[in-house]
Subunit: 404 residues, 2 copies
Amino acid sequence: MFKINENYLKLPGSYLFSTIAKKVNAYGNENPEKKIIRLGIGDVTQPLAPAIIDALHKAVDEMGSEQGFHGYAPDLGYEFLRNTIAKKDYEARGCNIAPDEIFVSDGAKSDSGNIQEIFATDNKIAVCDPVYPVYVDTNVMAGRTGTYDINTEVWSDVIYMPCNADNNFAPELPKEIPDLIYLCFPNNPTGATITKDELQKWVDYANKNGCVIIYDAAYEAYISEENVPHSIYECEGARTCAIELHSFSKNAGFTGLRLGYTVVPKDLKSGDVMLHSLWARRHGTKYNGAPYIVQRAGEAVYSEEGRKQLKAQVDYYMNNAKYILNGLKEAGYTVSGGVNAPYIWLKTPHKMTSWQFFDYLLENANVVGTPGSGFGPNGEGYFRLTAFGTYENTVEAIERIKAL
Amino acid sequence: MFKINENYLKLPGSYLFSTIAKKVNAYGNENPEKKIIRLGIGDVTQPLAPAIIDALHKAVDEMGSEQGFHGYAPDLGYEFLRNTIAKKDYEARGCNIAPDEIFVSDGAKSDSGNIQEIFATDNKIAVCDPVYPVYVDTNVMAGRTGTYDINTEVWSDVIYMPCNADNNFAPELPKEIPDLIYLCFPNNPTGATITKDELQKWVDYANKNGCVIIYDAAYEAYISEENVPHSIYECEGARTCAIELHSFSKNAGFTGLRLGYTVVPKDLKSGDVMLHSLWARRHGTKYNGAPYIVQRAGEAVYSEEGRKQLKAQVDYYMNNAKYILNGLKEAGYTVSGGVNAPYIWLKTPHKMTSWQFFDYLLENANVVGTPGSGFGPNGEGYFRLTAFGTYENTVEAIERIKAL
């Protein structure tokens, strides 16, 4: 008689953004006359840049011709893309990452969910709190997190690293030593980040204590301040302790196109075993590559035209961020983020819980945000708005919130 | 100190097709003047059909426009595609599968590798032997297969169901009752298949004994004989015991485009828990949907134009299959498959091992095939050729083999 993976049953509720989608759909169905503005899920709204559209059309034509057709992609991704990434994302920043240490995938969500597979189930994870829920949820599914306390919303075997106003939303080095440390800077959801010197401390801590840092750099394109690292490999010694995840979703609007990559340096080892070999094995066995046409689109992200167009797109969203930040401040909210990240993190007013504020905002302003508590216990009492809407909708949403 | 998933280290060698690629590349580099013909990996060679190219261009244009841009796809896939699949692949065959029981993904390889995650690690699997290596390898990674005997190439906790000339390459119901049964018909690599009546026995067996059948229907488009089921849901009672995997790679040439789907009927339960909910949770947490443009391409597969063009493509490959089958017979080989599947399964001559014949063929005919032993212990002494080459290359390969 078959048995299910009981760990799945430990997960409370459904995946955060699925819950939000259901709530919003229900409200929309009951109130069809209301114009709902979605600043909840971190989905982009601007169309793909012309350079990317051109690359896609060109690749599609190739796929329709006998000479240009491409079947299964190479395990790690096409060389044209991996070489470009190595050069533009790493060499240009003085980081030493070889093309064959880069694994192209269908996105950072998949990779951040799958990466835990190559580690033992009794490894202990540490996460920023609040943080992107995929890190914890996928470790729950693997049986790595112990039991869940429904009152405190805390897993017994997870090391939470609180990020709140007291520490300016930057986590402190954990006293209990974890095996795996998930870091995401610029952070989702708080929009906070840390300096290169601060990140160096994490790298040193990991090397000293035998931890692996899983570094999610999905939002690096939004960094506007100096001395904020775009990659963990800018830090000395990161090649022996860090895996880095990258997304094309936010810097290039690929949420509906799906592309990402993960870097596993060959110097990162457990005894004689390179984690690179394990991840390569997983990639080769359970995955069959990102579509050729999408990898060509990824290459276009780095072209001169592409970079120019995408810089304008990032600026567009960051202009929204500024508008939200200033608007909420004017309305008397306590806010942070929005400077090196497309997320604005606000304290809910009148001691409302995150979900109370979610309902309040949905019902009274018809604006959708994301309840902070969905990102971890220390997110309670906070709320995330994204800058990924259109400018017009962003302005309207803020005017509505101001009018409350 | 972090620890790795030691199960990965139990895997012998590298993933079969990675090994082949390395061997062929090495030979090619040493012998640059030789024209190597690849009939090894099951990759297609015909360009995407015009109806699919049109759908891709149209969807790319949408993604470049403000109104037509699509961000994150719905968790299960777009309704336009799921509705089409439910209607054309199931309703049309008298199967009762609802659109929300269909999960669109980036391909059957990912799904066939990931599906084991929703089951307990102490479940015991049964596999046809030989079979597509992903089923066993992904269960090895999850720690479900016991220890490996390097001499017999057998895992201690896997139930092997031999498929050889004695049983006409059709497995018998296992005496030891497994929890999960992987079936793939038409079979990869043998090209064999079973009738609807025979498949019904498996469904009855699974329902009686509390097993789940994971049914890989990746090659159903190649079925040419009557009374061979295209879907396991043609059998009575399959909704309570079977998960079905589908690929767009072979029927529509999507190996480089990546699209597949998995059906988990809501009647398939462990106690009160629907496996559908578990798979939905996995999909929502670790995956972010197939690209919009690729899902539109998938829709075009079912259009009147698309069907006509793809029928021609399948006929093209099956004409190759016939050529290989007849050519090898003329050359004195013992062969099977090639009638309901694009694979030809041949007995190696002169008692060569599978890998000996691989080297022999590569070096003397410059033709690449796949060693049968790579698909399981009972594949030893056999060899797979695919019909997915071009007609010209197929003819040349067979002429070269005949001339040996």
